[in-house]
Amino acid sequence: MENNTQVPNPAEAREALASIDTAQRAVRDTPWPTWIYPVNALLLGAMTLSFAFGEDGFVYLLAAGAVLMAVNVLAGYRMGTPYTLPTSRLFLGLAGAAMACLLGAFVVAEVTAQTWPIVVLAVAAAALYLAGGVAHRRSTGAPR
């Protein structure tokens, strides 16, 4: 056990804290493969659209959700960073908005039998995620 820790001065401590931030950003901003953005957008759209199929849609929702999770975890493992949350707030906000469309479709399906609002929400979910993907790519750069 090492026990000769020299207490850093304030400037060194500040530098150490800055290095933590830099290291964490470097990991969190690991570029994603390009194909993952349209695939995620399509799957989110499909999950949202599943509410238009009534009770049968639940199976589609589960299937698309399982594929979405599997694709992202596997891609994460291939990249070496399976559970890392990106730093881009714009991406996180737009991905959150896409998820809100999914939840909105659930509410719409509960209150009305009309399918067009669900279709609109599905298109919006996919479009919002794709826009988020552009923001994410801009913040991370292209993969090497």
């Binding site: 820790t5 207490v7 850093p8 150490a16 290095s19 933590i20 890392t84």
Partner: protein, 96 residues
């Protein structure tokens, strides 16, 4: 000072390794190597110190045994948080 600096985490490279593991939860060793200016043997030494202290878990997952995965243990996370708090206290002491 209430929080304490951790002698295992204190060296700059180990602090950065821990920071990356806290941000990423589970990371492949090659990802860490990519972001640290260290030779493979030097990186192995730093990781071994963290593993020996019980702060980091090292494992090989699935069929690809060439890939080494690292994650923080509960003990490591606690020590890291205390270390960062101690650094923060040093910085705050000068700004108050």
């Amino acid at each position: 000072m209430t929080a304490e600096l951790d002698p295992i985490i204190h060296p700059a490279h180990r602090l950065r390794i821990c920071a990356m593991l806290v941000a990423g939860s589970t990371l492949e060793l090659s990802v860490i190597k990519e972001h640290l200016d260290l030779s493979p043997s030097a990186l192995s030494k730093q990781v071994a110190a963290l593993v020996d202290a019980g702060y980091v878990k090292q494992e090989r997952l699935g069929s690809d045994t060439r890939r080494v995965w690292l994650s923080m243990t509960r003990q490591g996370l606690k020590a890291y948080k205390a270390h960062v708090a101690a650094l923060q206290e040093i910085v705050n002491a000068t700004t108050v």
